[in-house]
Symmetry: C2
Subunit: 418 residues, 2 copies
Amino acid sequence: MNTPTSLAESVDGQRFWDDMLDQARIGALSPRGLRRLALDDNDNHARCWLVDRGRALGCETFYDAMGNVFLRREGQDPDLPPLLIGSHLDSQPSAGSYDGTLGVVAGLAVLRALHDGGIAHRRPVEVVSWTNEEGARFAPGASGSSWFAGQRQATSILEAEDDDGVRFADALADCLARLDAHGVSYRPDAFTPFAFLELHIEQGPVLESLGIPACAVQGIQGVNWYNVTLQGQANHAGTTPEHARRDAFTGAHALISALREAVAEHGDQVRFTIGKFALAPNATNTIPQQAAFSIDLRHPSAAVLAALDASFQRLAGQSWSGCTVELAASARVPPVAFDDQLVAMLDASVKAYAPDAPQLVSGAFHDAIHLAHRCPTAMLFMPCRDGISHHPDEHIERDDADIAVRALADTVGTLLAR
Amino acid sequence: MNTPTSLAESVDGQRFWDDMLDQARIGALSPRGLRRLALDDNDNHARCWLVDRGRALGCETFYDAMGNVFLRREGQDPDLPPLLIGSHLDSQPSAGSYDGTLGVVAGLAVLRALHDGGIAHRRPVEVVSWTNEEGARFAPGASGSSWFAGQRQATSILEAEDDDGVRFADALADCLARLDAHGVSYRPDAFTPFAFLELHIEQGPVLESLGIPACAVQGIQGVNWYNVTLQGQANHAGTTPEHARRDAFTGAHALISALREAVAEHGDQVRFTIGKFALAPNATNTIPQQAAFSIDLRHPSAAVLAALDASFQRLAGQSWSGCTVELAASARVPPVAFDDQLVAMLDASVKAYAPDAPQLVSGAFHDAIHLAHRCPTAMLFMPCRDGISHHPDEHIERDDADIAVRALADTVGTLLAR
């Protein structure tokens, strides 16, 4: 019998990679990428695949009221809260094969290392696949993890409809029936895990640019979304002198310059993105009556977000080129700091392979943002080529993935040895 | 018999206004405004109304190959080129009652003053209504005047189709048949007038803000239209650090700041309008891959337009936030300077009523821009409320119109006395 501390070396990299390729076939697009929308046939197929793999490793399998699937490797003390490892198997409409799947299949690789090594541990270990992380079919996303963590009520999740008018509740009922028919045990309620670990692709360019195969993640940036609307006066572009204009585009341009200046005061960790912009009536020779744009603002510090929120509100209270401004926050998600101890353990595990690994703050949301409210939580990142995700071109290097999974296993080994 | 110089005082202001109200009923919208698309039933009805009014004043009536309608008051020397006065009777889809109609009905008022006063003149006088100035049903506009002035070929005009797939040629054939049935004489060809005069609403705020009832127009601004496209790289708004971004919106914002600075070097006669703006993929949490916007640039001087064109091309040649830029001119209409002598005469006529009248440069296009290439041409403007046109709220004051028509008649009187 091996000792847990050697768990990292026991990971079967070939089987892990074969599992990734297997998963990539479920909902595959031509020539590459996949489409596995939450609770669709492919997504349900992927759940059953996971169940089968778990059973082959001697795991008991469960599903809960939200369709989250669990593979449980029993501990010597079954009453201890389990260590939870996982991510999600659903995808964006035209996605790559790694976002989410990586974290689930990595968990499976850890289970296999425990199984193949015949490693006994007091605490149960479970691998989980959370339902509808992406929110691409049913918005918003992270349905399974947010419900499990007690962050959202089931009723509000079940009411969501997809573009074809299919209710989340009905799609979920089909999924649960399929899991039931597949012999998976129903364990309806959420519980409090010992800890939650999630490996995910970075979805950004930092690790790749540094040539680092993995890193610990300190937390997830908070985000404020705003919709900004300026009302001016439509007029003839040829006949209206500058001083007589109330040009909503000119007003928006000046306001955005001021917003950028406010952002620049808070250093280079701020993410400020204007992703949507529209003019009305949107005609070449008409002065715009209205300009409307979105702001996506992110920072790891709640204090910085609050300071920028105050600056934005103050700027919106001014008149810009004679236009009135309305600035409305459409979403606010506070930043989450992961568990210090877990982050330190993951960081130590990573540095055994990559001594120069940094620690990052996640700019994207993950299931872990919700789990962090329920139990000690942390994440590992690994690089993806050109930072691309949510696209068939999403790509990871097998050598990086091998290290990332071993780092995950190493921390699991340490936790189980306690 | 009156002398021509008293023609201005002979204008029957009440009959002129009654004619304006009559015309406003043809294609009237509820509660106000009108819809008289080029060559539609209302537009043809308006032509016949004009023919009837002309006949009542002893005029011979003509139509040409483009459906332009002429009321001819014969001169003592019928071989002299006629003095031409007019504008257009077609409208935008949801328009006011003054844009175009004013200039035609004002011409009619001058004919009536000549007729009622029994004034003889060597040179013939004709009032014209040009076909499809607006271009709202068949684009581009100014079909009748541009063809008449030799600026565009009939074949290219006849090919245009409206949104229902009706060809200009077929709509025109119906119109010509109706004029024929109405007893109007066919005079197919264009000719070179002695001069062309057009009274029009300003479609801008200047005269109203000065409290001036009319003014001479020196010319028409030239206009350059551009389509500008920036190509960046779409990426995740949360995970991509500032230095790794090629944000097409950020690039567009910086480029537009530079374009504005270039414009500001050329004084306050430049009109610079960004009326269209679009981002792709246009999602709140995605860094824009592409930004596309329009520029409407106007100035009375061809040299200034050329200098700004060079500046714009130079700026587009630079990289903005790592994005590539494409700047393409989609239209160029050179400025037109009206005939100095005619402008001076109209200015003198106006100043008899409004000593402080300025001279303006038109920011909008008019049929006169084409006639200026065929014969000495000039325009008069009168104010419209809030500068609004192309809208049912378009409004003029009767007292202003009375002065504008008399100023027009005064210049006609002076020209006929020569």
